[in-house]
């Protein structure tokens, strides 16, 4: 009976699939050195940025896309894609009043509180629409605390010294194919700097939206938490429904100095494609944090429900002594979605600790792979890692895979790895039904229970959203 239920539950329509008609400044498709220069010029960037982009582009030309992931997708034609598309504005917007009302309406439809009236939500938002950031809220209040929270383009203008000092120091453009591409053509993103001993007074949030057709979205986020500071950062993503695939290749770099803590949460709900596997976002993202200072901490929490293809390994380099890295993940694949996701924990400092808790849910024809690396370097005395991977299968046509890599070069390390795969049992389901639950409620409840420990890591308002999102993503998978 489970199989039948699951079919019903998995097929609910994607809510964010609308397109906004808006006047935009869009490049011709194709990628060349001229395009890289044009992007840099359009952004009015200082020379160090242009040189960095050009080096990245030259390096990218020597690379080929990675093929080791458990993913099947058609080759991407990088010359058919558009690398820059921006809503037309006369100048950069200084306040929300100058932002195109159509854009604000789009964000309202998506439930993003861009207006300062959204104060109750207590979240400062930076919104990126196609290639550029359209508005950042709560700037004044954050400014009082000394926090810099702006679009990446703005930071390049206002704090070039910080950008130059930290950009690419965690994820080099040499890191991988998509990181190189991103470095060459990224058009915007978010920038955060938390000064020494400041606890950021509110949650910071970036909302990414792909709107234009045939456009790749390449944004870059850079967060620096100086000594003894703390910040919690949320990221959300949606895109319109389109029959062709669109590429999203982002880079996120986090840097935590002595005793600093960064908590980074993602609810990724890019368009996943339709029930037959047409369309959907190809999500190739490089996210990495560096615990640079001693006793620093970086924690990744991700809820991955969207995208046709997910290729993503938010990682932590534990450089500072006694630093802590955490990775909490729920990845759901339904219909023909494929996810190859996990983390890397690189232990360099002494007494470093890391925790990995990964929950994969597969339904329909979904394929879900956990891929994780735990590496302990020779100097990393007393490193500790605990890894737990759990997979839940809904129905007979989906798959779950676990690929752990463990490399230990120091004999004082303690590494634990647990992995389990289970099906929603007919027993569990019948138990709930016999107590009066409908099939749909029963499955949603069991799946939510399965993800409970991850949801507990999310900030309150996101936890509720994540729970709903999961229910929606599973709807129709039972039948």
């Amino acid at each position: 009976m489970t199989n039948q239920y699951v079919k019903e539950l998995v097929n609910k329509n994607y809510e964010h699939g609308f397109v906004t008609t808006i006047d935009s400044d869009t490049f011709e498709p194709g990628l060349s050195e001229a395009v890289v220069r044009a992007i840099s010029k359009r952004k009015n960037e200082p020379d160090f940025m242009l040189q960095w982009r050009l080096k990245a582009y030259q390096h990218w030309l020597t690379l080929s896309p990675p093929e080791w992931a458990h993913l099947t997708y058609p080759a991407i034609d990088y010359q058919k894609m558009i690398y820059y598309s921006a809503p037309k504005v006369k100048k950069g917007p200084n306040s929300l009043d100058e932002v195109d009302p159509k854009l604000l309406e789009t964000y309202k439809k998506l439930g993003i509180p861009l207006h300062e009236q959204g104060r109750l939500a207590g979240v400062a938002v930076d919104a990126v629409f196609d290639s550029v950031s359209v508005a950042t809220t709560f700037k004044a209040k954050l400014g009082e605390a000394g926090v810099i929270f702006s679009s990446f383009s703005e930071a390049v203008q206002t704090h070039p010294e910080l950008v130059e000092k930290y950009l690419g120091t965690v994820v080099s453009f040499r890191d991988n194919f998509f990181a190189a591409l991103n470095a060459a053509v990224f058009s915007d993103g978010s920038f955060v700097y938390i000064p020494r001993a400041v606890r950021c007074p509110m949650e910071l949030s970036t909302y990414f939206r792909i709107n234009a057709a045939n456009t790749g979205q390449f944004e870059r986020t850079l967060i620096i938490a100086d000594d003894q500071s703390y910040v919690s950062y949320l990221e959300g993503c949606t895109a319109p429904m389109r029959d062709e695939n669109q590429l999203h290749a982002a880079v996120v770099e986090l840097i935590a100095m002595d005793n600093a803590e960064i908590k980074y949460s993602t609810v990724q709900n890019w368009y996943p494609g339709d029930a037959e596997g047409r369309g959907g976002i190809f999500n190739f993202v490089t996210k990495r944090g560096q615990c640079r200072g001693k006793k620093s901490k970086i924690s990744w929490t991700q809820i991955e429900t969207g995208s046709a293809i997910t290729w993503k390994y938010p990682s932590v380099i534990l450089k500072g002594d006694e630093s802590v890295g955490e990775f909490y993940s729920v990845a759901l694949t339904n219909n023909h979605q494929q996810a190859d996701t996990g983390t890397k924990m690189i232990h360099i400092g002494k007494n470093t600790r890391s925790t990995i808790l990964s929950k994969g849910i597969s339904a329909g024809f979904g394929q879900n792979t956990y891929r994780g690396l735990v590496r302990v370097l020779p100097q990393a005395d007393n490193a500790r890692n605990h890894t737990q991977c759990e997979s839940l299968l809904l129905g007979p046509t989906c798959g779950a895979h676990t690929v752990p890599y463990i490399e230990v070069k120091n004999c004082t390390a303690q590494i634990e790895h647990e992995a389990t795969t289970s099906k929603i049992g007919d027993d569990q389901l019948f138990y709930c039904l016999s107590r009066g639950f409908s099939k749909e409620n029963a499955i949603a409840m069991i799946v939510n229970g399965f993800c409970k420990r991850i949801f507990n890591e999310l900030p309150m308002e996101f936890a509720v959203e994540a729970q709903k999102l999961l229910e929606v993503s599973l709807e129709g998978s039972v039948g």
Binding site: D426, D427, Q428, F430, Y431, C432, S434, M445, N448, K452
Partner: protein, 256 residues
């Protein structure tokens, strides 16, 4: 309350071979009555309990099950629950990450909705739950744990009785509720069952042992063998079985 007429049930094994389990069950249970169904292992007792609650995977080839006059054979399990049927499981299922209290509140409110009653709010629910949990001698802390997760065998069984008292079914089917219980736990469970007894409610207990029937005295005892009820009688029939086994009824005791 419950009328079962000539019920035939079979299952398919992994080789798709058909195996007949119930071969013409006839049973009438009136409102207010407590019936015990006894019998050797493999006689079809648990199958009967599961079929009554609407579990899939069984082929009902003949017969009728009437609950208050309505044939429920085609009815979904959740609808049967809404009509007042409750099955206490022989092996209660663990649901990790789902809070026991949340589970029970959602179950109770979904039943209330069927009866056009407003949902109980958190405070009223908690008050009710605390009262009922005392009646089965269960630790209040089990309310805030995940459903049955890490519960001992006895705690799981008591949790079933606690759920039953909360949901107040009109027909409760208890599948080996006494198995794996020590004598103290058995008395608590029995006390819980006796609390449910009312002229408008009926209880069916599937059991192997006389000792439960000393605590919850049945009106009728049935002996089931090879998918048939071969003998019915008063509570004294259970004593006879306890004393003599099933052999005197002409049954091979090594049936499994």
């Amino acid at each position: 309350m419950l009328v079962i007429k000539n019920l035939h049930v079979s299952v398919r094994d992994k080789k798709q071979d058909v195996k007949t389990i119930l071969q013409g069950i006839n049973l009438t249970i009136k409102a207010g009555e407590v019936h015990a169904i006894m019998g050797p292992n493999g006689s079809g007792k648990s199958t009967l309990a599961n079929v009554l609650a609407g579990r899939e995977g069984y082929d009902i080839t003949q017969g009728e099950i009437l609950l208050n006059g309505e044939n429920i054979i085609e009815m979904l399990p959740e609808m049967r629950a809404a009509k007042g049927l409750f099955l206490a499981f022989q092996y209660p299922v663990e649901i990790p990450g789902v809070n026991n209290m949340y589970f029970l509140k959602a179950a109770l409110n979904s039943l209330r909705k069927h009866h056009d009653l407003p949902p109980l709010d958190a405070m009223d629910f908690l008050k009710l739950a605390k009262k009922k949990i005392k009646e089965v001698g269960m630790d209040e802390q089990l309310l805030s744990r995940a459903v049955n997760e890490g519960f001992s065998g006895g705690e799981k069984k008591r949790n079933e009785i606690f759920q039953m008292l909360m949901l107040e079914p009109t027909l409760a089917i208890l599948d080996e509720i006494d198995s794996g219980l020590d004598i103290d736990a058995l008395q608590k469970v029995a006390a819980g069952i006796n609390l449910l007894r009312r002229p408008d409610r009926s209880i069916v207990m599937v059991t192997h042992y006389q000792r439960l029937l000393n605590e919850v005295v049945p009106d009728v005892v049935h002996v089931m063998v090879n998918g048939k009820i071969i003998k019915s009688g008063g509570k004294e029939l259970a004593f006879e079985l306890e004393e003599k086994g099933y052999g005197w009824l002409g049954v091979d005791e090594n049936i499994t």
